[in-house]
Protein backbone atom coordinates (compact mmCIF):
# COMPACT_ATOMS: atom_id res chain seq x y z
CA UNK A 1 0.00 0.00 0.00
CA UNK A 2 2.66 2.46 1.05
CA UNK A 3 4.79 1.21 -1.82
CA UNK A 4 2.06 2.11 -4.28
CA UNK A 5 1.34 5.44 -2.63
CA UNK A 6 4.93 6.63 -3.03
CA UNK A 7 4.50 6.19 -6.77
CA UNK A 8 1.32 8.27 -6.79
CA UNK A 9 2.80 11.50 -5.43
CA UNK A 10 1.73 14.37 -7.73
CA UNK A 11 5.21 15.18 -9.04
CA UNK A 12 5.89 11.50 -9.72
CA UNK A 13 2.68 11.15 -11.73
CA UNK A 14 3.78 14.10 -13.86
CA UNK A 15 7.27 12.61 -14.29
CA UNK A 16 5.87 9.21 -15.22
CA UNK A 17 3.55 10.84 -17.74
CA UNK A 18 6.47 12.78 -19.20
CA UNK A 19 8.50 9.59 -19.38
CA UNK A 20 5.63 7.76 -21.10
CA UNK A 21 5.38 10.63 -23.58
CA UNK A 22 9.12 10.36 -24.22
CA UNK A 23 8.84 6.62 -24.82
CA UNK A 24 5.90 7.20 -27.16
CA UNK A 25 7.85 9.90 -29.01
CA UNK A 26 10.80 7.51 -29.37
CA UNK A 27 8.51 4.77 -30.64
CA UNK A 28 6.83 7.07 -33.16
CA UNK A 29 9.70 9.12 -34.57
CA UNK A 30 12.81 6.97 -34.29
CA UNK A 31 13.50 4.17 -36.75
CA UNK A 32 12.57 0.71 -35.51
CA UNK A 33 12.00 -1.01 -38.87
CA UNK A 34 15.24 -2.97 -38.46
CA UNK A 35 13.90 -4.88 -35.46
CA UNK A 36 12.06 -7.77 -37.20
CA UNK A 37 15.10 -8.61 -39.28
CA UNK A 38 17.45 -8.76 -36.29
CA UNK A 39 15.11 -10.29 -33.71
CA UNK A 40 16.40 -13.90 -34.03
CA UNK A 41 20.00 -12.68 -33.75
CA UNK A 42 19.12 -10.47 -30.77
CA UNK A 43 17.43 -13.33 -28.92
CA UNK A 44 20.48 -15.49 -29.55
CA UNK A 45 22.66 -12.64 -28.31
CA UNK A 46 20.69 -12.20 -25.09
CA UNK A 47 20.79 -15.94 -24.54
CA UNK A 48 24.56 -15.94 -25.02
CA UNK A 49 25.03 -13.01 -22.62
CA UNK A 50 22.97 -14.76 -19.93
CA UNK A 51 24.77 -18.03 -20.55
CA UNK A 52 28.23 -16.45 -20.22
CA UNK A 53 27.08 -14.59 -17.10
CA UNK A 54 25.71 -17.75 -15.47
CA UNK A 55 28.67 -19.98 -16.29
CA UNK A 56 31.34 -17.47 -15.26
CA UNK A 57 29.66 -16.45 -12.00
CA UNK A 58 29.12 -20.08 -10.92
CA UNK A 59 32.65 -21.19 -11.88
CA UNK A 60 34.13 -17.98 -10.51
CA UNK A 61 32.34 -18.43 -7.21
CA UNK A 62 33.54 -22.05 -6.93
CA UNK A 63 37.07 -20.73 -7.41
CA UNK A 64 36.51 -17.85 -4.99
CA UNK A 65 35.66 -20.12 -2.06
CA UNK A 66 39.13 -21.72 -1.87
CA UNK A 67 40.72 -18.34 -2.63
CA UNK A 68 38.87 -16.72 0.25
CA UNK A 69 39.52 -19.63 2.56
CA UNK A 70 43.23 -19.64 1.74
CA UNK A 71 43.48 -15.93 2.54
CA UNK A 72 41.39 -16.19 5.71
CA UNK A 73 42.98 -19.21 7.44
CA UNK A 74 45.48 -20.73 5.01
CA UNK A 75 49.19 -21.15 5.76
CA UNK A 76 51.45 -18.58 4.15
CA UNK A 77 52.30 -20.76 1.12
CA UNK A 78 48.59 -20.78 0.21
CA UNK A 79 47.54 -17.33 1.38
CA UNK A 80 50.35 -15.44 -0.35
CA UNK A 81 49.65 -16.78 -3.88
CA UNK A 82 45.91 -16.25 -3.33
CA UNK A 83 46.49 -12.66 -2.25
CA UNK A 84 48.81 -12.00 -5.19
CA UNK A 85 46.24 -13.46 -7.60
CA UNK A 86 43.48 -11.25 -6.22
CA UNK A 87 45.71 -8.15 -6.33
CA UNK A 88 46.68 -8.75 -9.94
CA UNK A 89 43.11 -9.41 -11.08
CA UNK A 90 41.79 -6.38 -9.24
CA UNK A 91 44.67 -4.15 -10.28
CA UNK A 92 44.50 -4.54 -14.06
CA UNK A 93 41.68 -3.79 -16.52
CA UNK A 94 39.49 -6.72 -17.50
CA UNK A 95 39.85 -5.83 -21.17
CA UNK A 96 43.61 -6.30 -20.88
CA UNK A 97 43.10 -9.67 -19.16
CA UNK A 98 40.71 -10.83 -21.88
CA UNK A 99 43.11 -9.80 -24.63
CA UNK A 100 46.11 -11.34 -22.82
CA UNK A 101 44.31 -14.66 -22.51
CA UNK A 102 42.79 -14.66 -25.99
CA UNK A 103 45.70 -13.37 -28.03
CA UNK A 104 48.45 -14.63 -25.71
CA UNK A 105 47.25 -18.18 -25.08
CA UNK A 106 45.72 -18.28 -28.55
CA UNK A 107 49.12 -17.62 -30.11
CA UNK A 108 50.91 -19.95 -27.70
CA UNK A 109 48.80 -23.09 -28.10
CA UNK A 110 49.40 -23.76 -31.82
CA UNK A 111 53.14 -23.99 -31.12
CA UNK A 112 52.65 -27.25 -29.23
CA UNK A 113 51.89 -30.21 -31.53
CA UNK A 114 50.33 -32.27 -28.74
CA UNK A 115 47.73 -29.57 -28.11
CA UNK A 116 47.00 -29.30 -31.81
CA UNK A 117 46.52 -33.06 -32.04
CA UNK A 118 44.36 -33.33 -28.91
CA UNK A 119 40.61 -33.70 -29.07
CA UNK A 120 40.22 -30.32 -27.30
CA UNK A 121 41.72 -28.43 -30.22
CA UNK A 122 38.42 -27.77 -32.08
CA UNK A 123 37.21 -25.97 -28.95
CA UNK A 124 40.47 -24.12 -28.34
CA UNK A 125 40.23 -22.61 -31.82
CA UNK A 126 37.02 -20.84 -30.88
CA UNK A 127 36.84 -17.66 -28.83
CA UNK A 128 34.43 -18.63 -26.08
CA UNK A 129 36.74 -20.81 -23.96
CA UNK A 130 39.07 -17.83 -23.58
CA UNK A 131 36.19 -15.48 -22.79
CA UNK A 132 34.82 -17.86 -20.16
CA UNK A 133 38.28 -18.35 -18.66
CA UNK A 134 39.00 -14.61 -18.48
CA UNK A 135 35.63 -13.67 -16.98
CA UNK A 136 35.77 -16.58 -14.52
CA UNK A 137 39.22 -15.60 -13.26
CA UNK A 138 38.12 -11.98 -12.96
CA UNK A 139 34.99 -12.84 -10.95
CA UNK A 140 37.02 -15.20 -8.77
CA UNK A 141 39.60 -12.48 -8.08
CA UNK A 142 37.02 -9.96 -6.90
CA UNK A 143 34.95 -12.56 -5.06
CA UNK A 144 37.96 -14.14 -3.36
CA UNK A 145 38.46 -10.86 -1.56
CA UNK A 146 34.77 -10.72 -0.58
CA UNK A 147 34.74 -14.33 0.64
CA UNK A 148 37.89 -13.72 2.69
CA UNK A 149 36.03 -11.10 4.67
CA UNK A 150 32.91 -13.27 4.85
CA UNK A 151 34.79 -16.31 6.17
CA UNK A 152 36.63 -14.22 8.72
CA UNK A 153 33.36 -12.60 9.80
CA UNK A 154 31.55 -15.77 10.89
CA UNK A 155 31.36 -15.66 14.72
CA UNK A 156 33.92 -17.91 16.38
CA UNK A 157 31.32 -19.31 18.76
CA UNK A 158 29.48 -20.93 15.86
CA UNK A 159 32.58 -22.82 14.78
CA UNK A 160 33.49 -23.74 18.34
CA UNK A 161 29.96 -25.07 18.91
CA UNK A 162 30.31 -27.24 15.79
CA UNK A 163 33.64 -28.56 17.10
CA UNK A 164 32.13 -29.22 20.52
CA UNK A 165 29.53 -31.43 18.85
CA UNK A 166 32.37 -33.41 17.31
CA UNK A 167 31.58 -32.39 13.74
CA UNK A 168 34.25 -33.48 11.27
CA UNK A 169 36.10 -30.58 9.69
CA UNK A 170 34.46 -30.89 6.31
CA UNK A 171 30.95 -31.17 7.74
CA UNK A 172 31.62 -28.13 9.88
CA UNK A 173 32.69 -26.24 6.78
CA UNK A 174 29.72 -27.41 4.70
CA UNK A 175 26.98 -27.03 7.32
CA UNK A 176 28.11 -24.06 9.42
CA UNK A 177 30.91 -22.01 7.98
CA UNK A 178 30.12 -21.80 4.26
CA UNK A 179 26.35 -21.12 4.57
CA UNK A 180 26.89 -18.32 7.06
CA UNK A 181 29.71 -16.80 5.03
CA UNK A 182 27.58 -16.87 1.87
CA UNK A 183 24.64 -15.38 3.74
CA UNK A 184 26.67 -12.44 4.99
CA UNK A 185 28.30 -11.94 1.58
CA UNK A 186 25.03 -12.07 -0.39
CA UNK A 187 24.47 -8.29 -0.72
CA UNK A 188 28.03 -7.85 -2.03
CA UNK A 189 27.69 -10.91 -4.26
CA UNK A 190 24.55 -9.40 -5.79
CA UNK A 191 26.38 -6.17 -6.59
CA UNK A 192 29.37 -8.06 -7.98
CA UNK A 193 27.10 -10.17 -10.19
CA UNK A 194 25.62 -7.02 -11.69
CA UNK A 195 29.19 -5.77 -12.24
CA UNK A 196 29.89 -9.08 -13.98
CA UNK A 197 26.86 -8.53 -16.22
CA UNK A 198 28.31 -5.14 -17.08
CA UNK A 199 31.62 -6.80 -17.93
CA UNK A 200 30.15 -9.26 -20.45
CA UNK A 201 30.06 -6.82 -23.42
CA UNK A 202 33.87 -6.79 -23.32
CA UNK A 203 33.96 -10.27 -24.81
CA UNK A 204 32.44 -8.80 -27.99
CA UNK A 205 35.96 -7.48 -28.69
CA UNK A 206 37.15 -11.06 -29.23
CA UNK A 207 34.40 -11.84 -31.72
CA UNK A 208 31.76 -13.41 -29.50
CA UNK A 209 28.31 -12.47 -30.74
CA UNK A 210 26.43 -11.60 -27.57
CA UNK A 211 23.81 -8.87 -27.31
CA UNK A 212 26.28 -5.97 -27.38
CA UNK A 213 27.88 -7.34 -30.55
CA UNK A 214 24.42 -7.69 -32.11
CA UNK A 215 23.72 -4.01 -31.53
CA UNK A 216 27.10 -3.08 -33.01
CA UNK A 217 26.28 -5.16 -36.07
CA UNK A 218 22.94 -3.37 -36.51
CA UNK A 219 24.81 -0.07 -36.31
CA UNK A 220 27.34 -1.15 -38.92
CA UNK A 221 24.76 -2.68 -41.27
CA UNK A 222 22.11 0.03 -41.20
CA UNK A 223 23.99 3.16 -40.00
CA UNK A 224 21.28 3.61 -37.35
CA UNK A 225 23.17 4.80 -34.27
CA UNK A 226 20.89 5.62 -31.36
CA UNK A 227 18.04 3.14 -31.58
CA UNK A 228 20.04 -0.09 -31.15
CA UNK A 229 22.08 1.48 -28.35
CA UNK A 230 18.97 2.67 -26.50
CA UNK A 231 17.36 -0.74 -26.82
CA UNK A 232 20.60 -2.33 -25.66
CA UNK A 233 20.67 -0.11 -22.56
CA UNK A 234 17.06 -1.14 -21.82
CA UNK A 235 17.98 -4.83 -22.16
CA UNK A 236 20.82 -4.43 -19.65
CA UNK A 237 18.58 -2.43 -17.29
CA UNK A 238 15.99 -5.22 -17.35
CA UNK A 239 18.56 -7.96 -16.73
CA UNK A 240 20.18 -5.94 -13.92
CA UNK A 241 16.76 -5.32 -12.38
CA UNK A 242 15.91 -9.02 -12.49
CA UNK A 243 19.27 -9.91 -10.93
CA UNK A 244 18.79 -7.37 -8.14
CA UNK A 245 15.28 -8.73 -7.51
CA UNK A 246 16.50 -12.34 -7.42
CA UNK A 247 19.28 -11.53 -4.96
CA UNK A 248 16.86 -9.61 -2.73
CA UNK A 249 14.60 -12.68 -2.65
CA UNK A 250 17.62 -14.85 -1.78
CA UNK A 251 18.58 -12.49 1.04
CA UNK A 252 15.04 -12.48 2.42
CA UNK A 253 15.05 -16.27 2.77
CA UNK A 254 17.06 -15.93 5.97
CA UNK A 255 15.56 -13.33 8.31
CA UNK A 256 18.17 -10.85 9.53
CA UNK A 257 18.42 -10.22 13.23
CA UNK A 258 16.87 -7.01 14.48
CA UNK A 259 15.07 -6.00 11.28
Amino acid sequence: MTGLRTWLLPHRIVMIALFAALVLWCAMTLRWDWIPKYTPLAIEGIWRTLWILAVTTVLGFLLAVPLGLAQAIGPWYLSTPARIFCTIIRGTPLLLQIWLIYYGLGSLFPQFPWIKDSSLWPYLRQAWPYAVLALTLSYAGYEGEVMRGAFAGVPRGQLEAAEAFGMPRFTKFRRIWLPQAIQSALPTLGGETILQLKATPLVATIAIVEIYAVSSRVRQDTFIVYEPLLLLAVVYLVIAGLLAFAFRKLEERVPAKGH
Binding site: T87, L96, G104, L202, Y226, A233, L237, A240
Partner: protein, 238 residues
Protein backbone atom coordinates in the same frame (compact mmCIF):
# COMPACT_ATOMS: atom_id res chain seq x y z
CA UNK B 1 62.32 -9.05 -25.46
CA UNK B 2 64.30 -6.14 -24.03
CA UNK B 3 64.65 -4.68 -27.53
CA UNK B 4 60.90 -4.87 -28.04
CA UNK B 5 60.28 -2.85 -24.89
CA UNK B 6 63.05 -0.29 -25.42
CA UNK B 7 61.98 3.33 -25.51
CA UNK B 8 63.45 4.34 -28.90
CA UNK B 9 61.62 3.48 -32.16
CA UNK B 10 62.56 -0.13 -32.92
CA UNK B 11 61.14 -0.89 -29.48
CA UNK B 12 57.58 -0.09 -28.44
CA UNK B 13 58.27 1.06 -24.87
CA UNK B 14 57.80 4.71 -25.83
CA UNK B 15 54.36 3.97 -27.27
CA UNK B 16 53.34 2.14 -24.10
CA UNK B 17 54.48 5.03 -21.90
CA UNK B 18 52.66 7.53 -24.10
CA UNK B 19 49.55 5.36 -23.78
CA UNK B 20 49.99 5.25 -20.02
CA UNK B 21 50.24 9.04 -19.91
CA UNK B 22 47.04 9.34 -21.95
CA UNK B 23 45.29 6.87 -19.66
CA UNK B 24 46.39 8.73 -16.53
CA UNK B 25 45.40 12.08 -18.00
CA UNK B 26 41.90 10.82 -18.78
CA UNK B 27 41.59 9.01 -15.46
CA UNK B 28 42.58 12.16 -13.53
CA UNK B 29 40.26 14.38 -15.55
CA UNK B 30 37.33 11.99 -15.33
CA UNK B 31 37.90 11.47 -11.62
CA UNK B 32 37.94 15.22 -10.98
CA UNK B 33 34.85 15.80 -13.09
CA UNK B 34 33.18 12.86 -11.37
CA UNK B 35 33.93 14.34 -7.95
CA UNK B 36 32.39 17.68 -8.95
CA UNK B 37 29.28 15.95 -10.33
CA UNK B 38 29.22 13.72 -7.27
CA UNK B 39 29.38 16.62 -4.82
CA UNK B 40 26.60 18.44 -6.64
CA UNK B 41 24.61 15.22 -6.91
CA UNK B 42 25.05 14.38 -3.25
CA UNK B 43 23.88 17.86 -2.26
CA UNK B 44 20.92 17.51 -4.61
CA UNK B 45 20.00 14.13 -3.19
CA UNK B 46 20.29 15.33 0.41
CA UNK B 47 18.88 18.85 0.27
CA UNK B 48 17.14 19.10 -3.12
CA UNK B 49 13.43 19.14 -3.85
CA UNK B 50 11.46 15.98 -4.66
CA UNK B 51 11.80 16.34 -8.45
CA UNK B 52 15.56 16.88 -8.34
CA UNK B 53 15.93 13.92 -6.00
CA UNK B 54 13.94 11.63 -8.30
CA UNK B 55 15.91 12.75 -11.35
CA UNK B 56 19.19 12.08 -9.53
CA UNK B 57 17.90 8.65 -8.46
CA UNK B 58 17.20 7.86 -12.13
CA UNK B 59 20.70 9.08 -13.08
CA UNK B 60 22.54 7.00 -10.49
CA UNK B 61 20.41 3.90 -11.07
CA UNK B 62 20.69 3.92 -14.85
CA UNK B 63 24.41 4.66 -14.92
CA UNK B 64 25.15 1.92 -12.40
CA UNK B 65 23.02 -0.70 -14.17
CA UNK B 66 24.08 -0.17 -17.80
CA UNK B 67 27.56 -1.37 -18.87
CA UNK B 68 30.16 1.40 -19.06
CA UNK B 69 30.96 0.37 -22.61
CA UNK B 70 27.37 1.01 -23.74
CA UNK B 71 27.23 4.31 -21.83
CA UNK B 72 30.50 5.40 -23.40
CA UNK B 73 29.15 4.72 -26.88
CA UNK B 74 25.80 6.44 -26.21
CA UNK B 75 27.36 9.50 -24.56
CA UNK B 76 30.08 9.67 -27.19
CA UNK B 77 27.65 9.66 -30.12
CA UNK B 78 25.05 11.87 -28.43
CA UNK B 79 27.70 14.29 -27.18
CA UNK B 80 29.50 14.74 -30.49
CA UNK B 81 26.15 14.96 -32.31
CA UNK B 82 24.82 17.65 -29.98
CA UNK B 83 28.00 19.71 -30.10
CA UNK B 84 28.12 19.52 -33.88
CA UNK B 85 24.46 20.52 -34.18
CA UNK B 86 25.00 23.41 -31.78
CA UNK B 87 28.07 24.68 -33.63
CA UNK B 88 26.30 24.34 -36.98
CA UNK B 89 23.33 26.30 -35.65
CA UNK B 90 25.75 29.04 -34.59
CA UNK B 91 27.37 28.91 -37.99
CA UNK B 92 30.76 27.41 -37.13
CA UNK B 93 30.43 24.19 -39.10
CA UNK B 94 31.37 20.81 -37.69
CA UNK B 95 34.03 20.71 -35.00
CA UNK B 96 36.57 18.01 -34.32
CA UNK B 97 36.25 16.79 -30.75
CA UNK B 98 39.51 15.71 -29.14
CA UNK B 99 39.61 12.17 -27.88
CA UNK B 100 40.91 13.24 -24.49
CA UNK B 101 38.08 15.70 -23.91
CA UNK B 102 35.44 13.19 -25.03
CA UNK B 103 36.96 10.47 -22.84
CA UNK B 104 37.09 12.74 -19.79
CA UNK B 105 33.50 13.93 -20.29
CA UNK B 106 32.08 10.45 -20.84
CA UNK B 107 33.93 8.71 -18.01
CA UNK B 108 33.29 11.73 -15.78
CA UNK B 109 29.53 11.29 -16.14
CA UNK B 110 29.88 7.60 -15.27
CA UNK B 111 32.14 8.35 -12.30
CA UNK B 112 29.76 11.06 -11.13
CA UNK B 113 27.00 8.52 -10.49
CA UNK B 114 29.22 6.41 -8.26
CA UNK B 115 30.73 9.35 -6.38
CA UNK B 116 27.24 10.81 -5.82
CA UNK B 117 26.40 7.73 -3.76
CA UNK B 118 29.75 7.67 -1.95
CA UNK B 119 29.67 11.36 -1.03
CA UNK B 120 26.00 11.24 -0.03
CA UNK B 121 26.78 8.42 2.39
CA UNK B 122 29.83 10.27 3.71
CA UNK B 123 27.93 13.53 4.27
CA UNK B 124 25.16 11.64 6.05
CA UNK B 125 27.78 10.11 8.36
CA UNK B 126 28.82 13.54 9.67
CA UNK B 127 27.25 14.17 13.08
CA UNK B 128 24.43 16.59 12.21
CA UNK B 129 25.31 18.85 15.15
CA UNK B 130 28.51 19.97 13.44
CA UNK B 131 26.64 21.28 10.40
CA UNK B 132 23.89 22.78 12.57
CA UNK B 133 26.48 24.57 14.70
CA UNK B 134 28.04 26.11 11.60
CA UNK B 135 24.59 27.20 10.40
CA UNK B 136 23.78 28.64 13.81
CA UNK B 137 26.84 30.87 13.51
CA UNK B 138 25.48 32.12 10.20
CA UNK B 139 28.15 30.52 8.06
CA UNK B 140 27.33 31.00 4.37
CA UNK B 141 26.72 27.69 2.50
CA UNK B 142 29.94 27.68 0.46
CA UNK B 143 32.09 28.43 3.49
CA UNK B 144 30.25 25.68 5.38
CA UNK B 145 30.99 23.28 2.54
CA UNK B 146 34.67 24.21 2.52
CA UNK B 147 35.29 24.48 6.26
CA UNK B 148 32.96 21.85 7.74
CA UNK B 149 31.29 19.43 5.34
CA UNK B 150 34.25 18.51 3.14
CA UNK B 151 36.87 18.12 5.92
CA UNK B 152 34.45 16.22 8.15
CA UNK B 153 33.27 13.81 5.48
CA UNK B 154 36.76 13.07 4.09
CA UNK B 155 37.46 10.26 6.55
CA UNK B 156 34.22 8.50 5.62
CA UNK B 157 34.54 9.09 1.90
CA UNK B 158 38.17 8.15 1.27
CA UNK B 159 37.85 4.34 1.19
CA UNK B 160 35.05 4.59 -1.38
CA UNK B 161 36.85 7.30 -3.33
CA UNK B 162 40.02 5.18 -3.42
CA UNK B 163 38.03 2.35 -4.98
CA UNK B 164 36.52 4.79 -7.44
CA UNK B 165 39.95 6.02 -8.51
CA UNK B 166 40.99 2.44 -9.25
CA UNK B 167 37.81 1.99 -11.28
CA UNK B 168 38.64 5.23 -13.15
CA UNK B 169 42.12 4.02 -14.11
CA UNK B 170 40.76 0.66 -15.25
CA UNK B 171 37.79 2.14 -17.10
CA UNK B 172 40.12 4.16 -19.33
CA UNK B 173 40.89 0.81 -20.98
CA UNK B 174 37.31 0.79 -22.30
CA UNK B 175 38.12 3.80 -24.48
CA UNK B 176 40.26 1.40 -26.51
CA UNK B 177 37.02 0.05 -27.93
CA UNK B 178 36.10 3.45 -29.39
CA UNK B 179 39.60 3.72 -30.82
CA UNK B 180 41.28 6.10 -28.39
CA UNK B 181 44.98 5.31 -28.12
CA UNK B 182 45.40 4.80 -24.41
CA UNK B 183 47.58 2.13 -22.84
CA UNK B 184 45.50 -0.94 -23.69
CA UNK B 185 45.04 -0.05 -27.36
CA UNK B 186 48.72 0.93 -27.76
CA UNK B 187 49.60 -2.41 -26.22
CA UNK B 188 47.39 -4.31 -28.60
CA UNK B 189 48.85 -2.50 -31.58
CA UNK B 190 52.38 -3.21 -30.40
CA UNK B 191 51.51 -6.83 -29.70
CA UNK B 192 49.81 -7.52 -33.01
CA UNK B 193 52.55 -5.93 -35.10
CA UNK B 194 55.34 -7.82 -33.33
CA UNK B 195 53.38 -11.00 -32.50
CA UNK B 196 54.89 -10.83 -28.99
CA UNK B 197 51.53 -10.91 -27.27
CA UNK B 198 52.67 -12.09 -23.85
CA UNK B 199 55.52 -9.62 -23.59
CA UNK B 200 53.38 -6.58 -24.26
CA UNK B 201 50.23 -7.53 -22.42
CA UNK B 202 52.26 -8.52 -19.37
CA UNK B 203 54.24 -5.28 -19.58
CA UNK B 204 51.02 -3.26 -19.76
CA UNK B 205 49.60 -5.28 -16.88
CA UNK B 206 52.68 -4.43 -14.84
CA UNK B 207 52.22 -0.73 -15.63
CA UNK B 208 48.57 -0.80 -14.56
CA UNK B 209 49.47 -2.74 -11.44
CA UNK B 210 52.16 -0.20 -10.58
CA UNK B 211 49.61 2.61 -10.83
CA UNK B 212 47.16 0.64 -8.68
CA UNK B 213 49.66 -0.22 -5.96
CA UNK B 214 51.13 3.30 -5.87
CA UNK B 215 47.68 4.87 -5.61
CA UNK B 216 46.80 2.41 -2.86
CA UNK B 217 49.76 3.80 -0.89
CA UNK B 218 48.77 7.39 -1.57
CA UNK B 219 45.16 6.82 -0.50
CA UNK B 220 46.28 5.02 2.66
CA UNK B 221 48.35 8.10 3.56
CA UNK B 222 45.41 10.35 2.70
CA UNK B 223 43.13 8.36 4.95
CA UNK B 224 45.52 8.62 7.86
CA UNK B 225 45.67 12.38 7.22
CA UNK B 226 41.88 12.71 6.96
CA UNK B 227 41.39 10.74 10.17
CA UNK B 228 43.91 12.79 12.14
CA UNK B 229 42.56 13.72 15.52
CA UNK B 230 39.92 11.02 15.46
CA UNK B 231 40.17 8.05 17.82
CA UNK B 232 41.29 4.96 15.91
CA UNK B 233 38.50 2.59 14.97
CA UNK B 234 39.97 -0.34 16.84
CA UNK B 235 40.32 1.48 20.12
CA UNK B 236 36.87 3.02 19.78
CA UNK B 237 35.37 -0.40 19.12
CA UNK B 238 36.79 -1.64 22.43
Amino acid sequence: MIELLSLSPPGWGGNLLRGLMNSLQIALGAYGLGLLIGLAGAYGKLYGGPILRDLLAVYTTVVRAVPELVLILILYYVGTDLINKASEAMGYGTVEISGVAAGIAVLGVVQGAYSTEILRGAIKAIPIGQIEAARAFGMPPLLLLRRVTIPAMMAFAIPGLANLWLIATKDTALLAVVGFSELTLETRQAASSTRAYFTFFLAAGALYLMVTLLSGRVFARLEVWARRGQPSLRKAGG
